[in-house]
């Protein structure tokens, strides 16, 4: 019979013990294995994190630590912005931009919302486009493209400068502030600035007499000359119509005559309206005495 208790005289038993054998088999079980290798670490990490974060003061402490670290990074001198440089703007506009943004330097570059700031600058009428960047040397570089005024628009309230797109650029207090710009008036005139400019170019010969242009009923233009003469242009193709008037003027000196209105609204039937006493004046100049009508 074998000894009931394994004595010391026996050599090392190569056989696995029952427990080791069972553990090995358990370890080879796929479900157990995946539980132990994936499930257990995930559970441990989740559980311990949850346990740690279940306390309010710890959460607050963590938030504080995070804020502190973030502030420390933000306030490093490398990220500070000390001044703002504005390019491409007139001094008055630059001053307007500065006062509108009202940034208090020094400021961390993390605190500047570039897109919002650019949008705020672009809210100014005179600014077409603003480009912000933090330049080396801790300078906030603002490159502004100004709107270029091309006409003066008279409304009932005020006189304003418009750019080529019809956008308001600035307000002027008197026509004489910008005598170089043409004047337009009427409701909806700002929506047709390019057309106005085209007409202006076509009206070259009568530039000195031109007082302004009036948008009628938000659809067509009237050209107002001195002596209260008006050229009523059609809604469609106003430029050829004006050129036609210019040709007539050149050939017949139409506008130098005693005409109040040249009405080209219907291109098949242009109409001239004479001044009220034009015929009398004409006859008088020809030596014809108008007899007192017996009628």
């Amino acid at each position: 019979m074998q000894p009931l208790k394994p004595g010391t005289a026996l050599r090392r038993d190569p056989a696995p013990s029952r427990a080791a054998y069972r553990m090995h088999r358990l370890w080879l079980t796929p479900l157990f294995r995946s539980m132990l290798r994936i499930g257990l670490p995930v559970f441990t990490v989740t559980f311990s994190a949850g346990l740690y974060l279940s306390d309010d003061t710890r959460r607050a402490g963590l938030a504080r630590i995070w804020e502190g670290a973030w502030t420390a990074v933000e306030e490093r001198p490398e990220f500070l912005v000390n001044l703002m440089a504005i390019d491409g703007a007139s001094p008055a506009l630059a001053e307007a931009i500065r006062s509108k943004l009202a940034l208090k330097f020094p400021l961390s570059s993390f605190d500047i919302d570039m897109e919002a700031t650019a949008a705020r600058i672009e809210e100014l009428d005179a600014v077409a486009d603003a480009d912000l960047r933090v330049r080396s040397g801790n300078v906030l570089q603002v490159t502004v493209t100004e709107r270029l005024p091309v006409v003066i628009w008279r409304t009932q309230a005020e006189l304003s400068l418009l750019d080529i797109e019809g956008r308001r650029v600035a307000r002027v207090f008197s026509r004489m502030d910008r005598p170089d710009l043409p004047l337009i008036a009427g409701e909806g005139a700002n929506a047709a600035v390019p057309e106005a400019l085209a007409l202006l170019a076509a009206a070259g010969p009568i530039q000195p007499r031109l007082r302004g242009m009036v948008r009628m009923g938000e659809r067509r233009w009237d050209i107002v000359l001195d002596r209260d003469q008006r050229i009523l242009l059609p809604e469609a193709d106003p430029v050829p119509a004006l050129e036609r008037v210019m040709a007539l003027d050149k050939a017949e000196a139409l506008l130098a005559r005693d005409v109040i209105t040249v009405d080209l609204r219907n291109k098949d039937r242009p109409v001239l309206r004479l001044a009220p006493d034009a015929m009398t004046n004409l006859r008088a100049s020809q030596g014809v005495e108008p007899g007192a009508s017996s009628l």
């Binding site: 190569p14 056989a15 696995p16 088999r25 080879l28």
Partner: protein, 444 residues
């Protein structure tokens, strides 16, 4: 007997479950070693032609993914004598194989060589009810076989239908669907000691494994080491193991006889140990390194140091010539072969059309054994090695692993046994309704 029938059926279901899971272990509990192979079944289409393994014998359906061998302990004559030791040895083998396969196995098929297997030829007849042979008819003819008295305390290990005869036509492999009047069958029944099986079952259970089948190692060694034509034409496989020598006779691809001689390689070792007065380990080493059965003049001059650890110079310096060694070994080998001869004669082996004898098993590696066997057993003797199986490590392809490889073939394609057929309905104890219906149909 019904008890065993039920448990064998349960094992078959277990085997089916294991095949579905795809992994099954094969355990050869021998006297000198315990071998464990882990098989993975993944369908026949996975076979790669480059391996040089053709689709023959159905061994291509599986692949060996784990193999381990350990020295057997507590086993004598192929029977468990010390349960704890054997259990440890099985645990060692199974754990090592699992480690190699990196997969857990729950189902195991076991073979063993002991238990004094005895063969019986059974015959049964059945008059067919309606001229076409059905599954039920086969079950009935199998249960109509007159069971001999297999003795007290013995159990049926294999009960395989070997031959079917329908009226005057004999030699039918599968009579189902054929038309005739009388169905007769021959069955081969192998019985072993019940206590041996019970011990083995208990041992497997203690290792947390489920038994999915049990086989005689003489049978499975024949399955793996006899080639197809030998199995067809008639051959005997002699599996010379450590503690017992199993022999099985095959014809028409069925085992018709199996027996075991309770002598094997371990007896050679103990003879050498006694004769040369050396420890068993030294005797085993001398046997494997210098053993033989034919002495020549050269062997007189080949001196073998036996050594010793006694501290006595005279004893430690001893040496023997190889002739002396052969003189010790040869009578025992002759005795084993004579005994096998006797069993073969008793079985009527000389009546078979082909009398091929295949020697396999660990002890068949003695040099010159085939010459000696040819003198005793007959001229047609060859040394057999087990079939090549996919994934089998080189170290386990020797003849010592014939039973393990055969068992894996057996696991892949088990022979139909008596318990694979349903119990005929008239013997079914519970289905009384079915019986009533049957009675009505027969009588009205």
């Amino acid at each position: 007997m019904t008890d065993l029938y039920q448990s064998q059926r349960a094992m078959r279901n277990m085997r089916r479950a294991a095949m579905q899971r795809g992994v099954i272990a094969v355990l050869d509990v021998g006297t000198s070693k315990i071998a464990c192979l882990i098989l993975r079944f993944d369908g026949p289409d996975r076979l790669r032609e480059a391996d040089g393994v053709g689709p023959m014998a159905g061994q291509s359906g599986f692949r060996v993914i784990g193999a381990a061998t350990t020295r057997s302990r507590g086993v004598r004559f192929g029977e468990i004598s010390v349960m704890n030791e054997t259990e440890r040895a099985i645990r060692t083998a199974v754990q090592a194989a699992q480690k190699m396969a990196n997969v857990r196995v729950d189902h195991v098929i076991v073979c063993f060589s002991g238990g004094e297997p005895r063969s019986y030829g059974l015959a049964g007849e059945w008059a067919l009810q309606d001229s076409v042979v059905t599954d039920q008819d086969i079950a009935r003819v199998l249960s109509a076989c007159d069971v001999p008295d297999i003795g007290d305390g013995r159990e049926v290990l294999h009960a395989q239908p070997v031959n079917f005869a329908l009226d005057h036509r004999s030699g039918l492999g599968d009579p189902r669907g054929q038309i005739g009047n009388r169905l007769a069958c021959d069955m081969h029944l192998l019985s072993v000691e019940a206590s041996v099986i019970r011990n083995l079952l208990y041992c497997i259970k203690r290792c947390d494994l489920e038994l999915a089948g049990i086989a005689s190692s003489a049978y499975v060694a024949g399955v793996s080491s006899l080639v197809e034509d030998e199995q067809e034409l008639g051959a005997a496989c002699i599996d010379m193991g450590g503690g017992s020598t199993g022999l099985s006779i095959f014809i028409k691809k069925h085992m018709i006889y199996a027996d075991a001689v309770r002598m094997g390689g371990d007896h050679l070792t103990s003879d050498i140990s006694k004769g040369l007065q050396v420890p068993v380990a030294v005797a085993e080493r001398i046997k494997t390194r210098h053993g033989g059965v034919h002495a020549t003049g050269m062997d007189d001059r080949e001196m073998i140091e036996t050594g010793g650890n006694s501290g006595d110079w005279e004893k430690d310096r001893r040496s023997v010539s190889r002739t002396e060694l052969i003189g010790i070994m040869r009578p025992r080998v002759e005795e084993i072969l004579e005994e096998v001869r006797g069993r073969l004669d008793a079985a009527g082996f000389d009546c078979l059309p082909s009398q091929q004898i295949v020697l396999t098993g660990g002890a068949s590696q003695i040099p010159g054994l085939d010459g000696l066997a040819a003198r005793i057993l007959g001229q047609r003797v060859r040394l057999g090695r087990p079939l090549r199986v996919q994934g089998l490590p080189q170290a386990t392809t020797g003849p010592a692993f014939a039973a393990a490889v055969g068992l894996s073939l057996f696991a892949a394609h088990p022979q139909d046994e008596w318990w694979d057929f349903d119990i005929p309905s008239e013997r079914m104890p519970t289905r009384s309704l079915k019986r009533a219906i049957r009675w009505f149909r027969d009588n009205w």
